[in-house]
């Protein structure tokens, strides 16, 4: 498949002046989809039925952009509808904007550049799932983004897109922008819900799933920013148009965030299924021409790729078939100057710091793995340590309470799988004393 020429969808307004304002957004067809949904097309069909919207999103094949790729329309259809039992409780839409996966940088730029696309998506989604309250849970450190999102919500209220009786249709919706407190675990949807309720963020037992007992034990849809921001475009363009992009099972456009040793790091919107080779072309190639050594397809929780994987189509199926995951399409790109054990150690530091502590494998395992890796990088490791690490990883993978533990072992197992010799080399050296200089060598090219 040749590189498709891409007409930007999600990022089309990003370069417009004051793209974040309602004025710009409306000038560039913003809130048109909302009109279509709530009021109907001028001279055409009337307002959409919520179930029609759910069907539309199902037909579009939109899959969650938060990492797991769960079909969005199906998630919406899990919300019980009716007037009895759990369906009688209020329904909630919660936007997971706690973008925290290392390397991931798509939701925050989206909210910075085009917050109204998210708000419009929230209104349409809330209408579809019959929710009258929506919370946008934004990473606490992203203060600028929180301010911008809050301002955009205020603008939307002022324009009558939010609040009571939206566009005179009788539909009510309130949106609250909630600042998290900076915990990676709160990107896990049930931990996010606990945090949103004012509790300590730790993942909940499932079942019950959020669709039946989510926020305040009421039916809740939790979706990623990029997912919901895609909704207005689907409403405007239709499911066929959406499916014209990407692949059969992973349709639509995607924001790939490229970071590391590339000439022009940043966000690149491309159809799902685009390869790193193509994305590198867009990003001006490897920085200073130093060859690629390894990269992550979807953040540090997805197993590493190497130069062998330059032509892996980056969609949900393609990444999985090649032994990794699409994740958040956060491509962290490392050239040949970087030591794999060092990079793996830094990632493990992150997981050790961010493990919530609820379950034994993740809490204790990350603590242990980091100590082994630190020892190895300091030149004090042994060959046995590599086997121990792999065994500990095996005792964490699939044994932990949530996916954090699984993610934490990905860089280690894949790093050893592709670069075992580097780990061995560190052991072989076995200097009598730690070599402080070595650490700098391992870090690789800095600028």
């Amino acid at each position: 498949m040749a590189t498709q020429p891409l007409t930007p969808v999600l990022t089309r307004r990003w370069l417009s002046p004051h793209s974040w304002t309602r004025e710009t957004y409306e000038r560039l067809e913003g809130y048109q989809a909302l009109h279509t949904v709530l009021v109907g097309r001028a001279g055409g069909e009337g307002p959409a039925h919520p179930d029609q919207l759910i069907q539309l999103v199902k037909d579009s094949g939109l899959r969650g952009r938060g990492g797991a790729g769960f079909p969005t329309g199906m998630k919406w259809s899990f919300i019980p509808q009716g007037t009895t039992g759990p369906a009688a409780k209020p329904h909630y839409l919660v936007i997971n904007a706690d973008e925290g996966e290392p390397g991931t940088c798509k939701d925050i730029p989206l909210m910075m550049a085009d917050p109204h696309s998210l708000i419009e998506g929230c209104i349409i989604t809330s209408y579809a799932i019959r929710a009258n309250f929506c919370a946008i849970y934004v990473r606490g450190e992203a203060l600028h983004c929180i301010r911008r999102m809050t301002a955009a919500v205020r603008e939307a209220y002022d324009a009558g897109y939010l609040g009571k009786n939206i566009l005179g249709t009788g539909f009510d919706l309130d949106i609250v922008v909630h600042a998290g407190a900076g915990a990676y675990i709160c990107g896990e949807e049930t931990a996010l819900l606990d945090s949103l309720e004012g509790r300590r963020g730790q993942p909940r037992l499932k079942p019950p799933f959020p669709a039946t007992a989510g926020l305040y034990a009421a039916p809740t849809v939790v979706n990623n920013v990029e997912t919901i921001a895609s909704v207005p475009a689907i409403v405007a363009g239709g499911s066929e148009w959406f499916r014209s992009m990407g692949t059969e099972k992973s349709p639509g456009p995607k924001i790939y965030s490229l970071s590391g040793h590339v000439e022009k790091p940043g966000q690149y919107e491309a159809p799902l299924g685009t390869t790193l080779r193509e994305l590198l072309d867009l990003a001006g190639g490897m920085k200073d021409g130093i060859p690629l050594k390894f990269w992550t397809p979807g953040g540090s929780s997805t197993p590493l790729f190497t130069v062998e994987h330059l032509d892996v189509p980056l969609d949900f199926e393609g990444a999985a078939a090649a032994g990794s995951m699409l994740g958040t399409t956060a491509l962290m790109i490392f050239n040949e100057t970087v030591s794999v054990p060092w990079a793996v150690m830094k990632w493990t530091e992150f997981y050790k710091h961010e493990s919530c502590g609820k379950c034994t494998p993740c809490r204790e395992g990350c603590y242990w793995l980091l100590q082994i890796l630190e020892r190895m990088v300091a030149g004090e490791g042994t060959e046995t340590d590599i086997d121990t690490m792999l065994d500990v990883c095996d005792n964490i993978l699939g044994r932990s309470f949530c996916a954090l533990g699984d993610g934490a072992v990905s860089p280690i197992t894949s790093g050893i799988k592709y670069f075992r010799q580097e780990f061995l080399d560190l052991c072989k050296a076995q200097p009598a004393v730690p070599r402080p200089d070595q650490l700098d060598d391992l870090v690789g090219a800095q600028s």
């Binding site: 915990a183 675990i185 300590r200 730790q202 037992l205 050790k352 710091h353 961010e354 493990s355 919530c356 502590g357 609820k358 379950c359 034994t360 494998p361 809490r363 204790e364 395992g365 990350c366 603590y367 242990w368 100590q371 082994i372 020892r375 121990t388 065994d391 500990v392 095996d394 005792n395 964490i396 699939g398 044994r399 932990s400 309470f401």
Partner: protein, 850 residues
């Protein structure tokens, strides 16, 4: 043979509401919704676990119980936590016994749990009874691959005066936090920090103040939580464990006494699903140091000619006691012989007793015996006192009530309480759990019957039980059972009950509803009658929850002035005949037919010089509404025999003191508030320690009467044979002359008061760690009353009567206007002794100085 059985299994239908699954190759039917790990347990397959506890909500945190599961013919990709997964039809489960994956997963988790564990088993209290130790031995690696730095914490961290936390031992299973949050409703401990720094902790200046905190120590699967009382005292394998029943309140919780070399070192909650489930309160768990306190009486004492008590032999003491009681009964006691010589340090108000006696000399000399049985007797002992009064005392002057009391109460107990039992369809703990609604009257369950509170809270959380609370303020009990407070100014409770609105009556009218009434109802004239009337109106069942362990048993054993054993009215000739026959008497007229006098009346009679002898069984006069009057009676009585554990106010006034065995040195039984028999055996055999019933039996023999109560078993068997009477009481009449509720004037308030679980109590002595977890004594008023009385929150209020004054810091609460609440027996607030006032009386209130 096997084949036939197999084919039989094939065709066996799955029972209704069940699913069929296979665990380790064994086919099993399990009720829908059952947690997998329980199904395994029922098969005898023990899956190791830490966070799982059958009475707590699932957590899935420790991941120790991972098993392989195949669902719908497809193996699940990851091993599953069997403590969170519910059974499903066709599920195929492989535990560590049949699955390498499960075994490896469990070993892996165990290794991870141990990397940060100090492995200080040799000095850890839990070593020897530690689930972590046991499971590490049975399913862990022999050596550790972990050669790096362990995470350490300063140790131990006192999270209350009683509970200490060693954080590095903790495996973060969250049993303690879940218990405190879910079961006790005291979420004072919580997980703090995250990742490997995660730890249990308390908020600053907010210690783990819970009446049930000791349970967290018991359910801790490692040695992270220890008690100040037991820490470093013993090793589990050096302990001898004996099942027992708690002696502290009317709940009758199953417990376990752990002893070493003749000393009780700790007590644990027993497992009795019908009663206390697996929990107990901290008083039951920790308040046992009275057993070894310096005030224990272990040898018989007789007051000599010098007026001082001296140790003597049992033979001598019993002879003196018997002679004295016989003379008292006959009215031939050398009057004032003992009284005059009794040192009367306390008797400033009583001038020259000898002269008093001389003044009354023209009157009939004092004659007869009164028996004050006390509220903490076992069933057999109460029966012995009841029988002793009738046979040796020739009187019905026997009463177990050492607290506020009324004839209305006796009628209520005779009509609605005596003889009720779980077998007879009475209210039970389980009944409370399944009731649609419960109304508490004159009862604060958390303060007065801890496990009743736990069950109410459980029922409210799981089954939506509606709890109503006729009281004065939203106590923690009320709040934690999500109860609706029905406020009443003390004294107006009967009126409030009579005027309940339909929103309450409709709920109470639902089948299975319960009225829980405490013994404090006797403080309010007309309240028992109002409860009985309400029960008649709504169909709700009545249960009486006395605060003391022995009261219910004493009632059924006939240690009351109006009833013989089995609820038989003393005034009924037929009832007397039944008892007379059982006791080997010739006929009904050998038993006294006149209703006897109550505790207060007996003491008043003694004070008035009418009664000559008192037989007292573990009575604290300060528990009576008017301690001064009680002491006056004890002082005036010419001959006093006291059966006691401890030195008390009675000891100083007794002529003969006979030591009795505490529960640990004897067997016996209590009747809990349900009417359920709670039998316990001997924990520590201690020569010379005799049960009350044995002492009374021997004393009676000295008086030439056979009680046949040589052992608790014999006495209980006779009581059982007696059974319940064919005639029982019927109606309850409100105490006549019901006074109008007090109306506070300027600078006055109506007093509301009751006791707290942890306060100044004779069985709570010598346990400072437990006392440290008591609720702070505070005077409670509402905002407008505080303003009217010039009180400021946090500043002291001086509550006074003519007798004396109590000063406590003020705390605002939602009391009715004009009402002030005091803890009845807290340090610095002993309402009866100091104020001589009680619930419903007027007190003057002023702001105290800073």
């Amino acid at each position: 043979m096997t084949l036939t059985q197999d084919s039989g299994t094939e065709s066996r239908p799955v029972p209704e509401g069940h699913v069929r699954l296979t665990i380790d190759g064994i086919e099993v039917d399990a009720p829908k919704g059952e947690i997998l790990i329980r199904t395994c347990e029922r098969l005898g397959i023990i899956v190791p676990r830490f966070c799982d506890h059958p009475l707590l909500s699932p957590a899935g945190a420790c991941r120790q119980c991972l098993v392989e599961v195949e669902l719908g013919g497809r193996p699940m990709p990851k091993p599953q936590a069997s403590c969170t997964m519910t059974v499903a039809d066709g599920m195929v489960v492989k535990t560590q016994h049949t699955s390498k994956v499960a075994d490896k997963a469990q070993q892996g988790v165990m290794e991870l749990l141990l990397i940060n564990h100090p492995l200080d088993c040799p000095i850890c209290d839990k070593g020897g009874e530690c689930p972590l130790q046991n499971q590490a031995m049975s399913g862990g690696r022999a050596d550790s691959r972990f050669i790096d730095r362990k995470r350490t914490f300063p140790k131990p961290l006192p999270i209350s005066t009683q509970v200490l936390l060693d954080r590095e031992r903790c495996v973060l299973c969250q049993r303690c936090t879940r218990f405190s949050d879910e079961i006790a409703g005291d979420p004072f401990i919580e997980l703090l920090e995250r990742g490997s720094n995660q730890q249990i902790g308390v908020a600053q200046d907010k210690p783990f103040q819970s009446y049930f905190s000791g349970n967290t120590i018991q359910i801790c699967p490692v040695g992270a939580l220890t008690s100040a009382a037991y820490r470093f005292r013993s090793r589990p394998f050096d302990l001898v464990s004996t099942p027992s029943i708690c002696e502290h309140c009317g709940s009758g919780c199953a417990q376990r006494n752990d002893t070493r070399r003749g000393t009780v070192l700790r007590r644990m909650a027993g497992n009795d699903p019908e009663v206390n489930e697996e929990w107990n309160c901290d008083k039951g768990r920790f308040a046992f140091r009275y057993l070894t306190s310096t005030g224990r009486i272990t040898r018989p004492l007789v007051r000599g000619a010098d007026g001082a008590l001296t140790e003597t032999s049992w033979t001598e003491a019993l002879r003196v006691a018997a002679e004295g009681l016989l003379a008292a009964r006959a009215g031939t006691l050398p009057v004032a012989a003992t009284t005059a010589e009794t040192p009367l340090e306390l008797a400033e108000g009583v001038e020259e007793p000898a002269e008093v006696v001389e003044v009354v000399e023209p009157k009939e000399p004092p004659k007869g015996i009164g028996v004050l049985a006390g509220g903490r007797l076992t069933v057999a002992d109460a029966y012995a006192y009841a029988k002793f009064a009738r046979l040796a005392g020739h009187t019905n002057d026997v009463d177990f009530r050492v607290r506020a009391q009324s004839s209305e109460e006796l009628e209520f107990l005779a009509a609605h309480v005596v003889n009720t039992s779980p077998e007879a369809g009475g209210v039970t703990f389980t009944g409370l759990e399944h009731a649609p609604s419960v109304l508490c009257v004159a009862l604060d369950p958390e303060e007065e019957a801890g496990t009743v509170f736990l069950r109410l809270r459980k029922a409210n959380r799981h089954r939506g039980l509606r709890v109503f609370h006729l009281g004065q303020w939203t106590t923690p009990s009320v709040a934690k059972t999500n109860a609706t407070l029905i406020p009443a100014v003390p004294g107006t409770e009967p009126t409030v009950l009579a005027q309940l609105g339909s929103e309450v009556l409709d709920v109470l009218g639902q089948e299975g509803s319960v009225l829980l009434v405490g013994d404090r109802a006797a403080e309010v004239p007309g309240l028992f009658a109002a409860v009985a009337e309400l029960a008649g109106r709504t169909g709700a069942k009545i249960a009486w929850v006395p605060r003391r362990a022995g009261e219910r048993g004493a009632l059924d054993a006939g240690a009351v002035p109006t009833l013989l054993p089995g609820g038989r009215p003393v005034t009924d000739a037929g009832a007397r005949a039944e008892v007379a026959e059982a006791w080997g008497l010739s006929g009904a007229d050998e038993l006294p037919a006149e209703p006897g006098r109550s505790t207060v009346e007996i003491l008043a009679a003694a004070a008035a010089g009418e009664l000559a002898g008192l037989l007292v069984g573990g009575v604290d006069p300060y528990d009576l509404p008017d301690p001064e009057a009680a002491l006056a009676g004890l002082r005036a009585a010419p001959f006093v025999v006291s059966l006691e554990l401890h030195e008390s106010a009675v000891t100083e006034l007794a002529d003969v003191v006979l030591p009795v065995a505490p529960d640990v040195n004897r067997d016996g039984s209590y009747l809990n508030w349900e009417g359920r028999i709670r039998e316990f055996g001997v924990t520590l055999r201690e020569p010379g320690m005799l049960a009350d019933c044995r002492v009374l039996d021997t004393l009676a023999v000295e008086m030439d009467i056979d009680l046949f109560t040589q052992t608790p078993a014999v006495a209980a068997a006779e009581l059982r044979r007696l059974g319940q009477g064919s005639v029982i009481g019927t109606g309850v009449h409100a105490t006549s002359g019901t006074a109008e509720p007090a109306v506070p004037g300027d600078g006055q308030a109506v007093l509301a008061t009751w006791r707290q679980l942890l306060d100044v109590s004779s069985l709570g002595v010598d346990e400072p760690h437990l006392a440290g977890t008591a609720r702070a004594p505070e005077a409670r008023v509402n905002k407008s009353t505080a303003a009217r009385l010039g009180l400021t929150e946090g500043q002291p209020a001086v509550v006074a009567t003519e007798r004396g004054a109590v000063s406590l810091p003020v705390r605002l609460a939602d009391l009715p206007d004009g009402v002030l609440w005091l803890p009845a027996h807290a340090p610095g607030s002993r309402v009866g002794p100091t104020l001589g006032a009680g619930h419903g009386d007027l007190v003057t209130v002023t702001a105290g100085g800073n």
